[in-house]
């Protein structure tokens, strides 16, 4: 598999590769594979020798990416990933040079898999429980059981992201997306594109999942001016638009098509509209956009001409706000659309 994993990693974007890492270790847990199998999987997925210091059994296991056993002691200089619940046990990758993009994730998931396997029971994995808790088709009894096993009682914030950098204890995959459950209403980490929703009661997580999906559709890319993390509860009436209008329908709206045409030659168009709609003054909008306010004024004059309405005033402002919102709806589903991949037979 070393080869096959390597091949597939190159093909896919990072999120898909990361999801495969998560799924791989989940399956090993579901299948009650051996601890050695988990370490070999880490080596194969990382393309680097991996090791486990197993404190309870006082043994060291090291494997090459093609699964060969290596003898030898702990190599102390590698970064240690502790195995949760097993004091003194840790995993490492013997990576010469820079870390691979998935190294941290591989170690983390491998460590959690070892933790899950060490319980000696045939309980479903944590991510399996997360999936059941969020699954609208699960029975109430199964959901109640999953929620209890996850230790969730009060409100839960559900975060749905296109990024595998969403790190949390309770994490799983839903289609091509990563879902994390955060007890309470904590601050959501930035640096990822995500939608979030709060389930006031953990048994309402399936609803929160749908709401987070809606919020994600309105989330902008990381690094842009518009927020990359959108909370459903902040949307209010805006949520209705994202819920009721499909990406295709939004893309077909005349004002959205016009934005798209203008963007082709003027990549600043949507950011500019976002800034002037979001900021109280032109001066502050210009600061946000890192342009001189006279430049901004020129752009807005040009935009008014091109759009056929003035995006800063009255009706025009509303129209521009809705157009930008719909533009996001039109663009927000690229990842989610591919969620339900059929599994072809081999």
């Amino acid at each position: 598999m070393r080869d096959l994993i390597g091949k597939l990693e190159v093909v896919d974007d990072d999120t898909a590769s990361a999801l495969r890492v998560i799924d791989h270790f989940d399956r090993l847990v579901d299948e009650r594979a051996s601890t050695a199998a988990v370490v070999r999987a880490a080596a194969a997925l990382a393309g680097s020798t991996a090791g486990l210091h197993d404190a309870a059994r006082a043994v060291v296991k090291r494997f090459t990416p093609d699964g060969r056993t290596l003898t030898g002691k702990d190599a102390g200089e590698w970064r240690h990933e502790p195995v949760p619940g097993q004091p003194g046990s840790w995993l490492w990758l013997e990576r010469a040079g820079d870390d691979g993009p998935l190294d941290a994730l591989i170690l983390e998931r491998a460590a959690r898999a070892l933790q899950a396997l060490s319980t000696g029971s045939s309980d479903p994995s944590t991510s399996g429980l997360v999936r059941i808790a969020c699954d609208p088709d699960a029975t109430d009894a199964d959901r109640r059981d999953a929620v209890a096993r996850l230790g969730l009682t009060g409100p839960v914030t559900l975060v749905l992201s296109t990024s595998a950098n969403l790190r949390a204890t309770l994490v799983s995959s839903v289609g091509d997306l990563v879902v994390a459950l955060l007890p309470g209403t904590p601050t959501i980490p930035d640096g990822i594109r995500a939608g979030a929703a709060v389930a006031p009661d953990p048994l309402r997580l399936p609803t929160a999942l749908e709401q987070a999906r809606t919020a994600l559709r309105l989330a902008a890319d990381v690094g842009g001016l518009a927020p990359a993390v959108v909370c459903y509860d902040d949307l209010g009436a805006l949520a209705v638009i994202a819920e009721r209008i499909s990406a295709d329908e939004a893309a077909a709206v005349g004002d959205v098509r016009r934005l798209e045409e203008l963007l082709a030659g003027h990549p600043w168009v949507v950011d500019t509209l976002h800034a002037v709609l979001d900021q109280p003054s032109l001066r502050q909008s210009a600061a946000l956009l890192h342009v001189h306010h006279s430049t901004l004024q020129e752009r807005l004059t040009w935009l008014s001409g091109q759009l056929g309405y003035a995006p800063m005033k009255g009706r025009g402002r509303q129209r521009a706000a809705v157009a930008v919102l719909l533009w996001r709806v039109a663009h927000g589903t690229g990842q989610e659309a591919a969620t339900q991949n059929g599994r072809p037979r081999g």
């Binding site: 070393r2 096959l4 594979a33 051996s34 699964g67 599994r343 072809p344």
Partner: protein
């Protein structure tokens, strides 16, 4: 015959090995289904590799000389291409590993599956000759197996030219390549040329009849399930599949006489379509007085050790086979 008639039931199967399971899922998500519509895509994927993937370095960093020859095909048929991999360091004539690639008789090329034998070439122990045979359904039986045989004949007759000892040729192949290797070995025996020292049949595709338990037990599961297998055999044999007019060279499980075949290594996973035809062929070869090494790996899906080489069961399978090849090449 409808598939309901061919597969009246779905008998039970052993579980897949726990460590192999995640890889199996990945494979199933990424490989297109074996159907007529997907044929072009499957061939392209096999020929080009996955986009962005590094191709296998056949030269092993310069230790292996890579050469291709156009040689005569069967009488009246086009020439065929042989991929010839020989040690870069000159030496005495070496044993040859004549390789027939896999791919269900319908996909694949001469480079597919030679990698496991490369280290023997790099170490100066063997020359690998891999044949580009014509594929079904465009070229149904007997084109594939006759191409394989023609390439073998050329290799034996021109052994000196490519640094091969013509008395020490073994044949090896996996999956459909295993079936073609077995069929070519039968042809070589019946036509009394050339002599083969060993046949290495890796999870071989031997039987077109779907009468065994394992040939029916995988329905949209594992790798190369019964539907894919039916597609492959039908591509090769058309309406003749399963009927009385199939030659043993196309489906070696049909050969009534297995005497005089070369020393055999044959293996299979316990959770694959070809399991029972492999076990049966091994038993019948043994009954015919052929020396056989048989290995069945519990929980293995079709091709498990090629796709999940890191897993413990794969390590065991690869090490066992490599050791047999090493001994075979020692003579």
């Amino acid at each position: 015959m409808t598939s309901d008639q061919i597969f009246p039931d779905t008998p039970t199967r052993p579980p897949f090995d726990a460590e192999l399971t995640p890889v199996l899922e990945m494979v199933r998500q990424h490989l297109p289904a074996f159907t007529e519509e997907n044929l072009a895509e499957m061939r392209q994927q096999t020929d080009e590799g996955f986009p962005g993937m590094e191709p296998v370095d056949l030269t092993v960093g310069g230790a292996v000389r890579v050469e291709e020859r156009q040689v005569p095909g069967p009488e009246g048929a086009p020439d065929i291409t042989l991929l010839i991999l020989s040690p870069a360091v000159e030496g005495p004539a070496r044993p040859a590993i004549y390789h027939t690639h896999g791919g269900g008789m319908i996909i694949g090329n001469r480079r597919l599956g030679v990698e496991p034998f490369l280290s023997q070439v790099a170490d100066g122990n063997a020359v690998v000759v891999s044949v580009e045979y014509r594929l079904a359904p465009e070229h149904p039986d007997p084109a594939p197996v006759e191409d394989c045989y023609a390439g073998l004949v050329w290799t034996a007759k021109n052994a000196a030219e490519i640094g091969v000892d013509p008395e020490r040729i073994l044949i090896a192949g996996a999956s459909a390549g295993g079936g073609l290797a077995a069929g070519t070995a039968l042809l070589a025996r019946d036509r009394a040329f050339p002599k083969l020292t060993h046949q290495i049949l890796i999870c071989p595709m031997l039987d077109d009849r779907f009468e065994t338990h394992s040939s029916r037990m995988l329905d949209d599961e594992g790798v190369w399930d019964r539907g894919a297998n039916l597609f492959g055999w039908t591509a090769l044999l058309g309406d003749r599949r399963g009927g009385p007019d199939v030659s043993p060279y196309a489906a070696p499980a049909r050969a009534e006489d297995l005497t005089g075949l070369p020393r055999t290594y044959i293996d299979t996973g316990s959770a694959e379509t070809f399991r029972d035809e492999t076990l049966s062929y091994a038993r019948r070869l043994s009954e015919a007085g052929v020396s056989v090494d048989l290995h069945m790996w519990g929980g293995g899906f079709h091709g498990f050790d090629m796709m999940a080489g890191h897993a413990a069961v794969s390590r065991a399978s690869i090490a066992t086979r490599d050791e047999f090849v090493r001994r075979a090449l020692e003579g």
